[in-house]
Symmetry: C2
Subunit: 200 residues, 2 copies
Amino acid sequence: MARRSEHSKEEIKAMVLQAAETIVIEEGFAALNVRKIAMEIDYAVGSIYMVFANMDDLVMHINAQTLDKLSAQLEQVANTKLEPKQTIVQLASTYLNFAISKYNLWSMIFEYRLSGNQQLPDWYQVKIDSISTQVEKVFKEISPHKTDTDIITATRALWSGVHGICILSLDDNLDTDAIEDTQTKVILLVKNFILGWITK
Amino acid sequence: MARRSEHSKEEIKAMVLQAAETIVIEEGFAALNVRKIAMEIDYAVGSIYMVFANMDDLVMHINAQTLDKLSAQLEQVANTKLEPKQTIVQLASTYLNFAISKYNLWSMIFEYRLSGNQQLPDWYQVKIDSISTQVEKVFKEISPHKTDTDIITATRALWSGVHGICILSLDDNLDTDAIEDTQTKVILLVKNFILGWITK
DNA sequence: ACCTGAACACCGTTCAAGT
DNA sequence: ACCTGAACACCGTTCAAGT
């Protein structure tokens, strides 16, 4: 057996990525493994290692796609010409709604741990940082007397806060009450933080 | 071989717990496994299952200990008769310092996932909730015109926020600069949130 | 009754061997 | 050159067998 050449390397890579993403969406990332992917795309386990170095590599590529989708949604909101304060609330809501609707993909970004003691590669870290960068530019508009450093710190503090609420509130349950409660908390945190920030 | 009776079941349980905790502290929870524990306490792998149902059971007991230590530290701070606003800032600092100094134990509380789709048991959930309960009573003092429900929601929003900053800031690095930056963000979030909360 | 450790069912990853 | 799948080194968990 061996040698089929039915698909190019790029095609196989896309098939692996697609199959893996579907497994994560449907069963959560704990259910993801090479043998399941191989069965799904009808190739041998070894073939997956022709197109991805290992599981870390594969997962980071899925996460990169997820981060790109999230970034695109945030960018759209950031570009609507609302009042800046309203825009920030909208950005937080968008983040939360993304976390809810794509929960299994979203949580893999933060739960998956690289094997060994590897650092995240630069191209990946940039994508993570770009999330709060989206918020920084809007935050700047409500901070006329602040330095850039202060604005970056404040944005990261607030956005980590929003993220913390999402992580802790959503990880046990995703039922309607919990979602409503989470929305309340996110908006409360954002509004009070901004109110404190501009009155100081 | 078999049958030694050198140790009571309670003694073996304590030995397993102690050995497992040490491994987590020194090598992180990804390095924890039954064979390593067994070697450390000089018993067979199977013996661990005499005193703990499985890994989930063992990890939850370690986490319970960690949560108790954290709770005790927070309680001590909550009982100092400072200005309430100052106390909340101190509580947040205490939380952050605990996360830093016991990072591997602290992160296991939030990173470890139960196998299957199990819910956290009630006795465990109570311990988790008790963290923000510690803050609630102090928060009540600065919220004279608010209902209990609003105070609970606000406390959880703020505390999830503090937690979010800790999680995102500490998981890549624990060097001096990162720690200082994290402290700045935690205090910024708490102060601005409280300022917004009381001026509204 | 207490404890062992081989055995089982899973993982991720590799690589000699087939076409 | 492309692809296979047996093999390896790990996991957690079980349970027949020893004292």
